[in-house]
Amino acid sequence: MSQRLEKTLVLPQVRLKIHSGTDLVVQLLIRNQLHETVLLRPTLDDWLLNDSEILPIVSRLEPPYVYLFPEYESTCQLTIPIPDYLPSGTSMKTWLRFPGWLEDAIPIQLELLEPTENSDRTPVIHPLMVTFPPPRDSKENYLGTAEPSTSGIFGLMSGLMDLDKIPARWLIAELLTRLCQHGTNYAQTPQGNELLSQLSRTQFFKNGVYAFSSAQVPAWIASSLSMANTILAAQIGQRHLLSIWEEWLFDLAQTDIELGDGGVHSELNKGGFCSNVTINSDKKVPKPAPTNPIPYQRSEASILNTQNPEQWFAGLLLGLAQVSPRMANCFRAIATQESTIPVVDHTVATQASYSLTTGLPGLDALPGRWLVVELLILLAQQGDTYSRTESGSQLLNRLSRTRFFKNGVLAFASAQAPRWLVISQSAAAAYHSSLGVQMGQGGLLHVGEQWLWTLVANALNIKGIDNPVSVSNAATKTFVCELGMDAQRWFVGILLGLIQVSPKMARYVKAIADQAPPPFTPTPTSPVMFNDVLNEGGSLGR
């Protein structure tokens, strides 16, 4: 998808001759000419020596993050010690990257000189200015600049990197729209209609509508979507983010990703997967149609054309009730309890709308990956829990014997998705804690759900609210640590999480699971008992 960018960026380059054993200090001056706040953490690739050998890079970054409002500039300093054992004449290359904001990298190329006789080894200081967005060259083709080593890492990673470029608000807007669409459809059913008519008589509902209208949520969603559409359309065509992910998963069932193109060349070592390769096989699970094949303008006309906050809020509530049984129970409890206590509580609504107004612009600052990370971690947690239930483990048992499952694990492992998740989570957590009060105890989703529950009058005691599905930083950290770099557990978690929120996905995955071969008959465990050597009484004091 990234290949479709048409123009190449004009980025600065660093070329230096430097004595081995000295420190290179890159003084970065970063300018933000984007219309949104950016959060940056520059990184360096490992050294490439003489275009062949890889050497781990060591570097220090001060300060560790740069947070820049539009039209502001700031500095940070990267200190890179140059090893002293490399011979003079060695060519060393690394690439300076800005994950989340720039897919291209700034090459830093050094040629080593004899170690300096000067014992104090004065560091070499090199100033470097980077502007966001970088200027574009109108002539060159984007692919012309891609390094061979990085151009091979499209695939899942490119999906993830594209998310980096998209501020969280667009994704939130898309998710909210989806949810509302879902809820609006549910409202047409007898059960949905009944729940809505009950809820609409509650104070909770009135508070929400009031908050939505005073924070101008529908307008915010509409403008976010139109921005997202304009920018995304140029890059990834008319496809929506979620449908890209969905398609990626669906494609996993049709093939062996290690087989690659025509069985000759494998994509595995490129860290990706072949989404378009299908192999003739009788055992095919029909791939469902993309969730949203038609452009936004028509398919979501019903919800997008309305600026009616009540319709938005109702859609959102019912959508949530649909995807989360726990939320559904909470809403039912609210619906039945509230109808008996008709209290007017303006304070709650005012507070809620205040926190929503302050919360929404904050979303602009966060790159989409962080939100996606939270969603994925949340999904993974739900999936992980589900995998421990009887029905979950039965499904997983069958699913784990299919190519779909193997492909997913391989794709996750070779795209280093677990590493991406772990690193993003820790960056997001560090950022949240640096923001302190505003983002509070947890991630974006946590803030979102907390906000929803502030709409409920304090007098109510709804089971489940005290134990929100969203995750506090501490819980997320524990979970992320537990899963670590285990590609299998991440894939299982996210997959099982997805099938819980998407009935279509659930049907599809079940159809795949039904194709699994019967399990092997378990054999008794090895009869060999290994002795505990250390506790053996033997000679030589062992």
């Binding site: 890889i54 080593s149 784990s400 014997r401 399990p519 050597v533």
Partner: protein
């Protein structure tokens, strides 16, 4: 091998011990592992060169094991078909000039190992054991970097493999020479990481090289990381190469791995000698056979190995009195692969490890 694969190959081969780190911890390990098999003669051999610790406070440890049909070494004796196993291990104090990073070279008395891009050369020599190997190789198979930081014991392990090198050279056993030509199969892998021998660690691994009646060759590589008593494991997987290209992966619960053990405990061939005498009174059951079954919704694998030679390497930790046991096994292997509806029977030899 395309450019991307060559970059990956360099990454697989790169020495990982951070020599420039003055606080380099002593539990660092970095090793280069080679297996050579000849289907015609049935000769199989293993070379492993491991760096442990750091210069001046570490060792370079070399293992060299040769298995060959007895008839190859004593044709004048009409002995029943059996396999003779010769082996040596030696440990050298790690002097700074023994290891060069660019291009990679490990050298010391009895060992010279060089890797430069796709080209490698291995020379191992032990006069007292009357064993020597001199072989040049060129990487052909698609390299795989499987993991760089999988949790292992108190630290981590990383590994990558190049399951196919074109080789030529010479092997000498007890004064008899054997030419190594392009028909030989050579497998190479790399391991690195920080952990301590003797911790609650283990693994099951093999490489099998088989050919079918149409002359096609397949390489199968198993990896399963475990704890010491193999009651718990990470995700097991088998890579199946067709020729030099990766063709199929089975992983997780699509795999069933069954080791069959000798009914009676006996004293195995043990290396190195000093460790063998330390554990001289310790008889154990050794692996006798191995069966692996695998099946997903399309493809299947059945693999059986009967071991004709086993030996036990004892590796001690370099800081406290604890050990890990590496059971090296080798033997003939029968494979039935079902790939996209085609049933492929194939035969060959395998080398494996059961580590506990």
């Amino acid at each position: 091998m395309n450019v991307n694969e060559q970059v990956l190959l360099n990454r697989v081969e790169a020495l990982r011990i951070p020599l420039e780190d003055p606080a380099l911890p002593l539990d660092w390990k970095d090793w280069y592992h080679f297996i050579l098999l000849d289907l015609k003669t049935g000769i199989r051999l293993l070379v492993n060169a491991t760096l442990i610790g750091k210069p001046e406070q570490g060792q370079m440890q070399v293992s060299f094991i040769v298995n060959l049909p007895s008839a190859q070494i004593t044709p004048e004796l009409e002995s029943p078909p059996s396999v003779a196993t010769f082996g040596t291990t030696f440990s050298l104090d790690w002097q700074p000039d023994m290891v060069c990073r660019h291009p990679l070279r490990l050298q010391g008395k009895g060992i010279n190992l060089e890797i430069n891009g796709m080209n490698s050369s291995v020379h191992v020599h032990d006069e007292r054991a009357q064993l020597s190997l001199n072989v040049q190789g060129q990487a052909e198979a698609m390299p795989l970097l499987v993991t760089e930081d999988a949790p292992f014991g108190s630290g981590f392990i990383g590994w990558g493999l190049i399951p196919g090198l074109k080789v030529s050279g010479e092997l000498s056993v007890c004064g008899r020479s054997f030419a190594i030509d392009h028909d030989w199969f050579c497998y190479h892998d790399r391991n690195f990481g920080r952990f301590r021998w003797g911790e609650d660690i283990g693994w099951e691994w093999f490489v099998a090289y088989v050919t079918d009646k149409k002359g096609r060759s397949f390489t199968l590589v198993l990896d399963k990381r475990t704890n010491k008593n193999h009651s718990m494991s990470g995700l097991p997987y088998i890579f199946i190469y067709s020729g030099t290209r990766l063709r199929k992966v089975f992983l997780g619960s699509t795999l069933q791995i069954d080791w069959d053990w000798s009914a009676t405990a006996s004293l195995p061939l043990r290396l190195p000698g000093i460790m063998a005498s330390l554990f001289g009174d310790r008889t154990v059951s050794m692996p006798r056979q191995l069966q692996v079954q695998a099946a997903d919704d399309q493809d299947q694998l059945l693999l059986t190995m009967a071991f004709d030679s086993t030996s036990e390497l004892i590796v001690p930790d370099n800081q406290s009195r604890q050990y890990t046991f590496i059971d090296e096994v080798t033997g003939a292997v029968d494979v039935t692969l079902v790939l996209q509806g085609e049933t492929i029977p194939a035969r060959g030899f395998a080398y494996g490890e059961y580590v506990h």
